[in-house]
């Protein structure tokens, strides 16, 4: 059951929100859901610890406007690489916009090399959890073509 029974439903393609494969944190996902809803998106929140197969099945079922993977437990880089590699193997999901953000390395933010690797593996954008990362994420939301006007 959605914990947000009053969320608006613009009847558009939803945004899928998912925690990293091994990431048990929830508040980042609750926050993202509220933020996305305020930008006019319907959200399907898959919650924490989302295996690749579940994300693929949900993405094929919902044809989302955007997939947002969020991770704060330090395994974001490795989990995120696995997820996007599997996702992009699906021809139907080769072009769906997908982004990742959070605290992606066990020693804090991941470096330029890891960021580049995540992008090369298939993410359209990589956000760290700094103020600039969050601002960049908000700018991206504002620019999404599927944004519903509600």
């Amino acid at each position: 059951m959605s914990p947000f029974p009053n969320a608006s439903d613009p009847g558009d393609r939803p945004v899928l929100v998912a925690g990293g494969i091994s990431d048990s944190h929830t508040w980042n996902l609750v926050y993202l859901q509220l933020l996305l809803e305020e930008h006019g998106h319907r959200v399907v929140n898959l919650g924490p610890c989302v295996p690749e197969d579940l994300l693929i099945a949900e993405a094929l079922a919902h044809r989302p406007a955007l997939i947002v993977v969020s991770s704060v437990n330090g395994h974001g880089y490795h989990d995120g690489m696995r997820t996007v590699t599997r996702l992009r193997e699906q021809p139907a999901l080769a072009a769906v916009p997908a982004v990742i953000g959070g605290k992606l390395g066990i020693a804090g933010p991941c470096g330029a090399e890891e960021t580049a690797a995540l992008r090369a593996a298939g993410y359209d954008a990589v956000f760290d959890d700094s103020a600039e990362g969050i601002a960049a994420f908000r700018r991206m939301l504002g620019a999404l073509p599927q944004r519903a006007l509600v």
Binding site: P3, S22, W27
Partner: protein, 426 residues
């Protein structure tokens, strides 16, 4: 009860007037894990050791954990199932024992492999629970978690045959870390303790995580103690306080001040053990040195704090917690079945929890005085007991504001003074 186990160590320390302090600490490298345990043991404090497992092991992705061990990839904890038992025995050799018991902390809704691995190397203390390591943190169905935990408790309880007194700590006093009203935390912690007891565990600790208001926290621990005394008459039990588990202060001064408050809560409430947080908490996994500094600071604050427990029953927190526990226990004689029915009916309902087996209709907020309160009790049996303030839907900014309430409060100027804090941690 006496003996060399985890619970007996904590009991002896409490009887001697000392608070046991403990880190969260886990590194994938056996050499670094051993160094962390040694540093914990040698800290200027009464300590127990921690091996925190990595999150691949936690979610049962043992192949990833094994590959990481083979390829020497650093994980966010110690992969106890994937390391050779001889390797883990080497980590513990000469360290783990009656004078320094080591607990395994993990976060798994299916901990049987973990319990087999820890008992194989002579350990017998762990933590978690069928609700607290299921609902807030993953995708395992609650029914499966209850079955896994029943089996795991029995695996651990069998260790008693080889002379030990296995110990389990509930994680129920922490569900989601923040924004859960204390009465529900207390209720889940007590119910998980009863679940452990039903499945053969006789040495138990019940957790409570520091929240937003010191007075409400003191009420909560008092309620927890009263309910355990009533419901666990034949078990050895103690209370473990967790330093704040939500968004932690970013300044060194704020981080220490919040940790100091947790130590004061633990001692004043008559609790026996404290799990610390460090100055690094808001940014990354802490180093061993940061953990040792936090242990020593908490021990110093504890040593100068008098025990002054509250009267347990005359509070709002007790009234709510007791009503929740009773409403669950009346559902079935078996605590696991009662918990399943309670969540299915919404008699227990964790605010903001995304798990499909949580009703998801309760909501909480931080009141003007800093107490956590109910905006919506959903179908929980708190009508006429809880003071409910219906609220409109929360915005993302308001949620972030609530989530960072403690961080903001403690990063700001100290309302009293900071005397003693600067000199307290070299």
């Amino acid at each position: 009860m006496t003996g060399g186990g985890f619970g007996a160590f904590v009991r002896r320390a409490h009887d001697a007037g000392r608070l046991v302090v403990q880190p969260r600490m886990g590194m994938s490298s056996p050499r670094r894990m051993r160094a962390g345990l040694l540093a914990t043991r040698d800290a200027r404090a009464t300590t127990v050791g921690t091996i925190t497992l990595d999150s691949y092991t936690r979610v049962g992705d043992l192949e990833s954990a094994r590959l990481a061990v083979l390829e020497d990839v650093a994980l966010n904890g110690y992969p106890i199932v994937s390391h050779d038992p001889a390797t883990t025995a080497g980590v513990l050799d000469g360290i783990h024992g009656p004078g320094f018991p080591v607990q395994v902390r993990h976060g798994s809704a299916a901990p049987q492999d973990i319990f087999r691995a820890l008992t194989a190397v002579g350990l017998d203390a762990s933590e978690g629970g069928p609700v607290s390591y299921c609902l807030p943190y993953g995708r395992v169905p609650l029914r499966a978690s209850v079955a896994h935990w029943a089996h795991a408790c029995e695996l651990l309880a069998a260790r008693r045959d080889s002379g030990g007194e296995p110990h389990l700590e509930t994680f129920g006093g922490c569900v989601l870390g923040q924004l859960c009203p204390p009465s529900l935390l207390v209720a889940v912690s007590v119910l998980e303790a009863l679940f452990f007891h039903r499945h053969g565990i006789r040495s138990i600790s019940v957790s409570y995580a520091q929240q937003t208001h010191p007075g409400q926290d003191a009420e909560a621990v008092a309620a927890l103690r009263r309910l355990c005394a009533h419901h666990l008459p034949d078990a050895e039990w103690h209370v473990v306080v967790y330093a704040y588990m939500g968004l932690y202060p970013e300044t060194e001064q704020g981080a220490y001040r919040l940790l100091g408050k947790a130590a004061e809560l633990a001692v004043a409430s008559g609790s026996e053990r404290l799990i610390v947080k460090t100055v690094a908490e808001s940014r990354r996994i802490p180093t061993v040195a940061e953990n040792v500094a936090a242990l020593e600071y908490a021990a110093e604050v504890a040593a100068r704090t008098p025990r002054a427990p509250l009267d347990a029953t005359g509070t709002q927190t007790y009234a709510e917690a007791s009503a929740l526990v009773d409403a669950v226990l009346e559902l079935d004689d078996d605590p696991g079945t009662a918990l399943l029915t309670a969540f299915a009916e919404g008699r227990l309902d964790v605010p903001y929890c995304l798990h499909p087996d949580n009703a998801g209709s309760s909501r909480s907020y931080i009141a003007a005085d800093g107490r956590l309160a109910w905006a919506d009790i959903g179908r929980m049996p708190l009508n006429g007991i809880a003071d409910v303030r219906p609220a409109r839907a929360v915005t993302a900014a308001e949620l972030l504001d609530s989530l960072s309430y403690v961080r903001r409060s403690f990063d700001g100027p100290d309302p009293r003074n900071t005397r003693g804090v600067e000199s307290a941690h070299p």
